[in-house]
Subunit: 365 residues, 4 copies
């Protein structure tokens, strides 16, 4: 394919521009017989949806998704699931000013050089609007993995600019607009974001995602390793600049004796590996951390050039997220779910009849 | 494919176990007409080869590669290039002791659970031995990219355990066994590695890779982004636990005004993006940084279980790298070359006839 | 992917059931800059559309296609083109009678055994309704190939049941409802079809497709041969049971001296090969012939079993084509166009800079 | 990939030229735990091997295959299986005369125009030599399908030039050099082939392949239909010009009432479909028929042009099959096995947990 598909057996093919007629995707490879309806997708779409708090873009996207195929009498049929969201709130006028110039830090210039023309309306294909389809497709994978495989996938905001979550609890994640697991930091985050918004600037963030309940054996040597496919999926999200599995960059200063996760009959004694050994799941929690850059859509003027190469000043008006990382949590969960779903199917295909006498080694708590 | 291939148009399919009869790969998609011989591959294989200094495993692998097909009268024919390295120094006896147990931090357990059996000789398929084929294939991509596209790909060791390169110069990289760009640190590295080796422990490292001369336009939206494919390729290397593009994790604390790379007619004013915008090359240097974990093959005893689930002590004798990161530089260069070669071909396919009046914006020095 | 995509660089991913909400597809890989609008697609959709003569099903499908993405200001942008046709004339009641039984000669039984459930409305995913999307996608390929590569793709009905076209002329093909190149046979075809319709039975057909103007060099050894990919694409059309390239099955009784297409400086002396040698286009006309089975949807009772395995009688009411081959011509043209478009892009990728002094050998007239 | 791989989950990647150092392939996706050794592959290689009777080329190829990886202690490990056959009997001198000219009916011209150069020794990559690897890989698929799925795959020569097999029995197939199921025709075939060889000419053939024991449910809508993938695999064999499934081209004159395979609780009443409905196996025998053209390598002079476009006479000396179809039977079996193996794995992946109360409908005897 030419770049708009992901997954080998659970394949998502996405289309649509930010301000075109609609965005959509095709999910090919969902097993038959799973109960599925639009409401199953809407929940995660809501978590991603902008405009829910004053800390995200006020662009109003109802994001009402339609299932066009692949579901009959409330169950998946095994045929491709077509999803569609019509674009309703397009406000193209917001973008007229930038049609002749390249916003710094955006894909305007690279799309123009690659394709020779570009849909400048709201960033066209390169807009974060596209991630709505990742979330919708990911919701299907999450549902299947939860119901059939006992896998739970959850994410949270680990850091926003200078502010790190210190305490950790899953409960508050769903209760604040930042997906922050440290309830004590929410006020500080509110204040910081208010100041940031007033300043007109933006900031980066770190999002962590965890998959629990993945059995040993998912992932393929040598190139389609589970961690390699996760890195691919995460880096394919707008604004992501770094990916870590397990100890990640901290491994640089680790000694082998502290990093290798020793094993006892009672279970693994640590999880520096982040649940993946040799590209294959170990049965421990799969832990992923990603870095998101600050958005480059700012009302503070930036230097750039126009189509003629002449210097211009760029001011991005309209509605933008001062921290795109805030809404990235459900997107990162979706991408992890899509990769795990794909590798679960691959494991089934090749190793359906593998049995060993050795029980699974318990994960490190 | 089932995991042992990488690349869509420039496709590497790899096979072979550490202590089997041979390792090899097939390179499908190399354009015809390029001069190629074994000596073109041997240079990078030498850079990766163990046993060149006291700081790497003393396993002796001549790593003499044979080109079996795809080259006629000294030029590539456009048909698949088959490469083969016979395994000569196998010393299986070194590994007899671990046939019934799982080395902690290795793929022994995950391979066993996935496949129900495993080739325990030297780690079998999961051994770093496999990376020799990445280097050989990468050498072909590097040669084509250099000769036909003016792209230069170079890497270096940025950090080894606690020791960071501070000064930077490409010259010393080729002149010390660590690929270190800071000549002033070499003595410190020597001493540190000697101590580490005596202690029986191992340590992690950071390797950086840079591609210069990549024109704007390589990379595909949405999922096959250039940076996403780079992340996939890098994370597929043994022991890699993290990948950064451009500013990477530092982006978390960046403000938008400092991160967005502003543009003037004279060129980009910075390169926080690492040469990729919206998944497409910008014409700036593509900068990648990876974290490698310390090897888990230690002579210091570690706790684990055997095939029966009973507790055992694991001691890895034989010859191992106290820092696998030292030899990772040519491997990382190879993977970057393979990804760039693939995307160069994809750009040619889809956008061969794209022309714009706008000259390329110069890269930030 | 899981079966609903075709093409490596020009990739069509299709979705939708006969009587679901809509059918659609995503075309990923269309080069940018080509003028494109719905009217470009509608022409071929009209040629395929049922209900245009009394000889095809009277099901009324306006088949109004919407372009949802990938086109901006009238030109393709290089991003995926999303196409959608809402299903308007569903008449599910026609099919209520067969929900509990398997129509002989249909996919009812195989879908049920594969997926454990099926959308029985009008055949669901296995309905010929799906071919509308092939035609729409093929129209894009045909337009690009015609405008940029000088390739013309045309098809015709070579045989309908016992009636063979004997005279050949392209002119009448567009002027009769059978796509028959032998104007003298049209009356006979009319009479035959009227009798067939009265009898309640159906009949098979042969459709030929020809691509002219394809330069030498399209197609890849060894498995992705141009003729192999054509065979795949043709056999993927509902009801196709056989595919021939060039002389096809007549080759069985050929002598080598008569079959090999000799060459003179003035050109090839024959075209038994059908324009493909070693899987690569030779510059001669690419000639393909396919056999289509008679539809199994008959009002004449047939024996079958129901979901409980009990014997039942099946009568298919509703509107059906007594000869599905009649409408297959634009579908076969579309599939040939899709394959050629894909291989043109692949040839560009790998061999963009190949030049030879030898001029192309002229095709046999 | 670029054409030298086939299969999505059971993937064969092939390399090697007729007179290069070696030919080989990588089989990626074979499930672990199956007993496998070189002797398992050698049996089918022997059936394909030339020089066994006076009716095939006298080129002596020991075709001794080595398993280089993926097998440990006599069992497959689930990692890629590397196969290698060194080329021993190269006799390049036979081919010196054709290095500057294009043999009519061969791939010489198309390879030259595509790649700008070609390995002219024995046809290089386009030689039938390449099919040895198909047979070796197919033997692995056949073994797995037989042992784990109860699938039997057998082929035979149905027609050689004007001589058709009339009686049918599997027994004689293995007992004559033609794979002919009609013992009474063997003498006629011997005489015909002796005359043909003396004349210096060649002739075409028809080979049929049958797979029995395939359960319902293998194959994917819409494009990766089982029959479409079979057509692709068969048409990818050198010299194949046509493919039929089930009734094939006879379907053109069939009435729906005779073609649709009616069903009773005792089983299907016929098998015009050839075991595939809607692209999915029905549980009936999968029947495939292919047409092979006569070889163009003749000692009888043929007209062609040389690299300068000047007229030349081509005489192919050396050793060639007067009927390549004779040796095609094991190749066609191998390709069918590879496709079925791939779809068996795909069915496992997506529909592992599908159950229906309906027992499989018995096949028509």
């Amino acid at each position: 394919m030419s770049g708009n598909s992901i997954g080998k057996l659970f394949t998502i093919t996405s289309f649509g521009e930010s301000h075109g007629a609609a965005i959509g995707c095709v999910i090919d490879g969902c097993p038959p017989g799973m109960a599925l309806s639009e409401t199953d997708l809407q929940a995660d779409l809501e978590r991603r949806r902008p405009g829910k708090s004053r800390h995200t873009t006020q662009r109003r996207e109802p994001d009402a998704v339609r299932i066009l195929s692949g579901v009959f009498e409330g169950r998946t049929t095994g045929t491709p699931i077509g999803l569609l969201i019509e674009n309703v709130d397009q406000r193209s006028k917001d973008y007229g000013k930038i049609m002749d110039r390249f916003r710094p830090g955006h894909a305007d210039y690279t799309y123009y050089k690659k394709f020779g023309l570009r849909d400048y309306r709201g960033g066209g294909r390169s807009s974060a609007r596209e991630t709505a389809m990742r979330v919708a497709a990911g919701a299907i994978a999450k549902k299947y993995l939860a119901e059939r495989c006992g896998v739970t996938i959850r994410g949270y905001l680990a850091q926003l600019g200078p502010i790190r979550a210190e305490a950790f609890d899953w409960a508050p994640v769903a209760e604040n607009p930042f997906f922050c697991p440290d309830a004590g930091k929410v006020a500080e985050l509110e204040a910081y974001m208010d100041g940031l918004r007033k300043s007109g600037d933006s900031v980066g963030a770190r999002v962590n995602v965890v998959a629990e309940g993945v059995p040993p054996g998912w992932g393929e040597p040598i190139f389609d390793r589970l961690d390699a496919d996760i890195a691919h999926a995460m880096m394919s999200i707008n604004a992501v600049k770094g990916v870590e599995i397990g100890a990640g960059f901290a491994s640089i200063e680790h000694k082998g004796t502290e990093h290798r996760d020793e094993i006892t009959p009672e279970g693994f004694l640590s999880n520096q590996a982040g649940g993946v050994l040799g590209g294959i799941s170990s049965g421990q929690a799969i832990t992923v951390s990603i870095a998101l850059k600050p958005t480059s859509s700012l009302r503070l003027p930036g230097r750039s050039v126009n189509l003629a190469g002449a210097p211009v000043e760029v001011i991005t008006e309209g509605r933008h997220d001062p921290c795109v990382g805030i809404r990235a949590t459900p997107i990162a969960e979706a991408m992890l779910a899509i990769v795990l779903m794909d590798h679960m199917l691959r494991q089934r295909a090749q190793n359906a009849d593998v049995r060993t006498d050795l029980p699974d080694i318990p994960a490190h708590p």
